[in-house]
Symmetry: C2
Subunit: 98 residues, 2 copies
């Protein structure tokens, strides 16, 4: 059986996924959210938690750190679009951001 | 006396600084370099070293992590341009990248 997790989602599935993650938006075949923290150290603490998760599941978001703001941008290269793995990462990142 | 470190550099000074840092380039009033590592963990190790330096000197680059590549973008907001602090950070980051 094919791995469900790496099947590219349809536009309708992506819309439905984004409705459950209000802070995330779809941009050019990727999903993205910017988090805000108290300071740079807050950003770094979050980034290290996300990095640990990303490495564990072998799915790595692009991470942009701008002092107290962190932007995660996620897509699944192997599937050429957005998959359930991207929404799993979004959910975990939201949880880690507390 | 004014702090020399936060005086905005002239175009000529920036050119001279970039000549000494061949991997760095000037882009829109900032200086930037992309480093490449063996993998994501290599990127994260570098980013954490840069973050420690940045916090110590209270001068924070924008940091973009894309799997095994890290882009640092630096300018001095207080001076409205590029200063010696930016080149100090560039020098230290190059050293930390090994």
């Amino acid at each position: 059986m094919p791995d469900q997790a790496i099947e590219k989602m349809s536009d309708e599935q992506i819309e439905a996924g984004l409705e459950k993650r209000a802070e995330w938006s779809g941009v050019g075949g990727q999903i993205q959210r910017t988090y805000q923290f108290g300071d740079f150290l807050g950003s770094m603490a979050f980034v290290n938690k996300v990095a640990e998760y990303a490495e564990r599941v072998q799915h790595h978001p692009d991470i942009l750190i701008r002092y107290n703001r962190v932007t995660l941008t996620v897509s699944t290269h192997d599937a050429g679009g957005i998959t359930q793995k991207d929404f799993d990462l979004a959910e975990e990142a939201d949880r880690l951001a507390g």
